[in-house]
Subunit: 339 residues, 2 copies
DNA sequence: CATGCGGAGTTAATCGATTAACTAAATTTA
DNA sequence: TAAATTTAGTTAATCGATTAACTCCGCATG
């Protein structure tokens, strides 16, 4: 037999008070209007009956559903982004909030529909996440719904956002090599025109310029940031007359190609060649042999920061938007040796 | 200036009808009670005003929120499971339903809380997903909420579920090798006691028995199903007097270790050694050189199957639970050559 | 002694939809 | 022509909470 879950009215009845009193007793609202023992009695009755409030009914009245929307472009699929969801999820959970997920499969026309679907469900706010660090226009469908961008910055900074500190991460990775005495540090980059490429490349150029080296000799570009591209480009770079003593790779997948190239050219990592990289992808960096030193993309931290910022926005609607750079800590492993 | 979104009452007013008529006109309910031109007029007014129904209010009345809960134990983090979420998400989206996600971080005591949090929000049903194929007890917190298990089967089959057809996938992988003329097929397994290990191992044993081979000679077990374990175990297996001409690996990470072992023993894949594996992990199988032939875990398909089954349950509450085996198709690459 | 006030509640309105029950006019049927 | 049925709506109840406005009692104060 299926018994219906108890409503607030059932609790109120059983405790011999009105629903108003029951509501105030359970929520601790209404100040001094509720006596201490009435409050205790109501609470006990609620526990006894196994009362759980109907958040839908409450949301209708209070205009707060304790749900926030997570809109991602293909986010659920990409491997690291799971951490972004988890970071957001954890911070939300701690505040008694649940995540309503929508994935747009990278189709921008779907984004508007996704946002509308969330708004129909009266979510309290929206997290807008992109698959990789980029600059976007905030979809106008957002309207006045509080929102925070994740792994993206808005062109006009009208909304709070958090992105990885790519420059800091690159400086950190290069510092690992510099500390080991490397000067001639090569860079393997990708031809894909993304924010990450731009910043990592520019930061590496600063380093090269600081040592008065020729970037042309030390830079190589693959058409795509994949293992094959890393392999082919590394073979070219390492076959040049004056090869670098260390390589900074655009990402771990390319670094995987560098390992293959080094093996083929009979260069031992890290003794003949030190390697540092970016992303710290969990299925790659620790699994390579030797373990790859890599600047970590702080997806988890970005996810929870975004939720906290959204909660702040909900608490103080007039607060100024904040653009946050999240540090990329270096995961030290065994791919760096003294020059 | 922030104008409030229009309510049904606003549409009804603007169209000069009652809210009841407006509701019926927009939803197509109420049979012939609404005239064709009234219906048109109401619809036009709704579009004009940009009316979007408040699903929360509707849900309070209809007891359908068009949301389903997705409870995972660490699911968001694990790499393949993204596909499971996406499969579920896609199927749900197509039916106008959104996914409310909760992750329990693998903590069983949290599962009850997670389910309660979802029920408070009046979700229409629950998807209960586990990180890897296993047999579980259905948490009693579920109560009478319609539920479907994902990548898990309930001990008493009281709830619908979908799991990968591990036996079929193993047979398929072995058939790849058999078709290439291999007889002496080794198996690298893991010591971890999981459902997948049991079925893959038992199915491989059937094959060995069918050819009258000695399983002891051809089987090797690593403590964990990781790259290092695969490497060490493969070195042992391939150094035996009569080494197998092909290896079936428990998973792709172990296969990655086999590749390393083969390189070290100067065996060329696939000419000296054919390799097939399981999981078809997207960051491993296609990235290895040569590409690894692997039986795919159909996470996406399981995700969407589970949603469809849940929708069926919602439509016909008295339907019998179904235990579904989802086929594991073979992803053919270049790691198999004729014996 | 009347008045004002704080304490402890209750009553009833409200959030934004859906839907059962009712109504009035037009049309068909007997 | 009167009764029955169909058409095209309207009115009001309802879902399960929250909360503004009101009541009632006892006590202190001028």
């Amino acid at each position: 037999m299926v018994t219906k879950p108890p409503r607030l009215a059932d609790v109120a009845n059983a405790a011999g008070v009105s629903t108003a009193t029951a509501s105030m007793a359970l929520n601790g609202t209404g100040g001094s209007r509720i006596g201490a023992d009435t409050r205790r009695r109501v609470r006990a009755t609620a526990t006894e009956l196994g009362y759980r409030p109907n958040t839908i009914a409450r949301g209708l009245r209070t205009r707060r559903t304790q749900m926030i929307g997570f809109v991602g472009d293909d986010v659920a699929t990409t491997p690291f982004a799971g951490q972004m969801i988890r970071g957001a999820h954890d911070a939300a959970r701690r505040a008694g909030i649940l995540l309503l997920m929508v994935d747009t499969s990278g189709d921008p026309s779907e984004t508007g529909e996704a946002i509308a679907a969330l708004q129909e469900r009266q979510i309290d706010g929206i997290l807008l996440a992109t698959m990789y660090h980029q600059v976007i226009d905030v979809p106008k469908a957002i309207g006045s719904t509080p929102a925070v961008l994740l792994d993206a910055r808005s062109a006009d900074d009208s909304v709070s956002s958090v992105v990885p500190d790519e420059r800091g991460g690159t400086l950190g990775a290069l510092a690992e090599l510099a500390a080991a005495g490397h000067r001639r540090i090569g860079h393997l980059t990708t031809a894909e025109d993304v924010e990450a490429r731009r910043i990592r490349l520019a930061t590496w150029r600063e380093h090269v310029a600081a040592y008065g080296l020729d970037p042309g000799e030390l830079l190589a570009e693959a058409p795509q940031a994949k293992t094959r591209g890393g392999y082919e480009t590394a073979v070219r770079l390492l076959s040049r007359p004056e090869r670098p003593s260390a390589i900074f790779c655009f990402n771990d997948r390319m670094a995987m190609g560098v390992y293959r190239a080094a093996a083929e050219l009979e260069l031992s990592i890290p003794d003949d060649l030190s390697v540092v990289s970016y992303d710290n992808q969990e299925l790659i960096a620790p699994e390579l042999d030797p373990g790859l030193t890599s600047a970590a993309l702080p997806h988890f931290e970005m996810g929870s920061w975004a939720v906290k910022e959204l909660l702040r926005k909900l608490a103080e609607p007039d607060a100024e938007p904040v653009q946050h750079l999240m540090p990329c800590p270096i995961a030290r492993r065994d791919s760096v040796a003294p020059a």
